[in-house]
Amino acid sequence: MIIMIAIIVGCIIGIVIGLNSPIIPYTYSGYLAIAIIAALDSVFGGITATLNKNFNLKIFISGFFGNAILSILLTYLGQRLNVDIYLAAIVVFVGRMFNNLAIIRRYLIEKFSAKEIINTAQKMKKKREQKIQKNT
């Protein structure tokens, strides 16, 4: 519960700060974009790990910052070498994001369908009990 509150408060404060902070030069906006994609990938990875019950905060934090910094460095290297390395980074990160989203989606569907099955089973059980009660 406290984690959810912290996340929501963090997001709201972040939006407020972001809307009031000065904009960055256009030259660096490409680097920021790739860092955001990397961070988002880490977030989805973290959610998947939580669902699989093997979430480790240290891995999550190191992935969050490490991936962002690494992708910025690779993008810079790509610009020096005149190769669009950031495209590779985007393909990897977004591909992984879709994978993680699929896992999350499956988990949620299974959870809800399991609930439904239990609910219907309980209803049938009640009906049967009522019938038995009437018969007796």
Partner: protein, 243 residues
């Protein structure tokens, strides 16, 4: 690690992420958002934006340096009367050169393309749609007339007319001081309002000529503000003649 620490770290990370996204979105929406057709076009656009950024940075540096120079000059001329008269001279010369913002009485004259005229309306053989647009020659005529009437400072769409200014036709736009400007053309001039007004509105004068073609609007004003010249006046080839 207890739960509070976990919540704090996650909160801070969410904060960083959303700050990044918000800044990025604002940066992108602030820059020119026309969708480029091809990769080359995209690259060229990037290049232009980068150069513009560099130019803006340098220009702000220049302004800062000018401010510093002004301060130094003031300090130097504080005690010395002859130096302070020199300082006044420098100020006056800068004003005459068009290197400072100036204000005073004058007129504001607006020339607008006549957009009411369409190609279908232009039927006779010696008529042309381009007669109903403002041309560089029209602007030159007005500037010439204003100078003749004793205008001390003139600007067209905030481009100050200085001794090196050129008004040229560049296809479908007009360039003043090498900067593109377009309709409506707002010409501000400082001088005697009556003289300037009279020079433009006299029978057979510029407004008489224009009224048949384009839309004109002239106003006398008690306070006309004219921005300074933002370019560089170079003196690479000329030297003083020693007497």
């Amino acid at each position: 690690m207890n739960k509070k620490q976990v919540a704090l770290t996650l909160g801070i990370m969410c904060l960083l992420l959303t700050v990044g996204i918000a800044i990025q979105v604002r940066t992108i929406s602030n820059t020119n958002s026309t969708v480029a057709q091809t990769l080359t076009e995209n690259g060229l656009r990037d290049e232009v934006l980068r150069w513009k950024e560099r130019y803006d940075n340098l220009y702000s540096q220049l302004e800062q340096a000018e401010g510093n120079l002004e301060k130094v000059r003031q300090q130097a001329s504080q005690d010395d009367t002859s130096a302070s008269s020199k300082e006044d001279e420098i100020k006056l010369n800068n004003m005459l050169l068009g290197l400072t913002d100036v204000t005073g009485t004058g007129i504001i004259f607006t020339l607008t393309d006549n957009q009411g005229v369409t190609t279908e309306m232009v039927t006779s053989i010696d008529d042309d749609i381009s007669y109903y647009l403002v041309h560089d020659s029209d602007l030159r005529l007005v500037v010439n007339e204003l100078k003749n009437a004793g205008a001390e400072a003139i600007s067209i769409n905030n481009q100050r007319i200085v001794s090196t200014s050129a008004i040229t036709c560049e296809g479908n736009i007009i360039k003043v001081n090498g900067e593109k400007i377009g309709s409506p053309f707002v010409i501000r001039a400082i001088g005697s309002p009556e003289l300037l007004y009279g020079a433009l509105t006299r029978p057979g004068g510029p407004i008489d000529l224009f009224n048949a073609k384009v839309i004109t609007d002239i106003k006398k004003a008690n306070k006309v503000e004219i921005a300074k010249y933002t370019g560089i006046i170079s003196s690479k080839y000329m030297t003083n003649v020693e007497e």
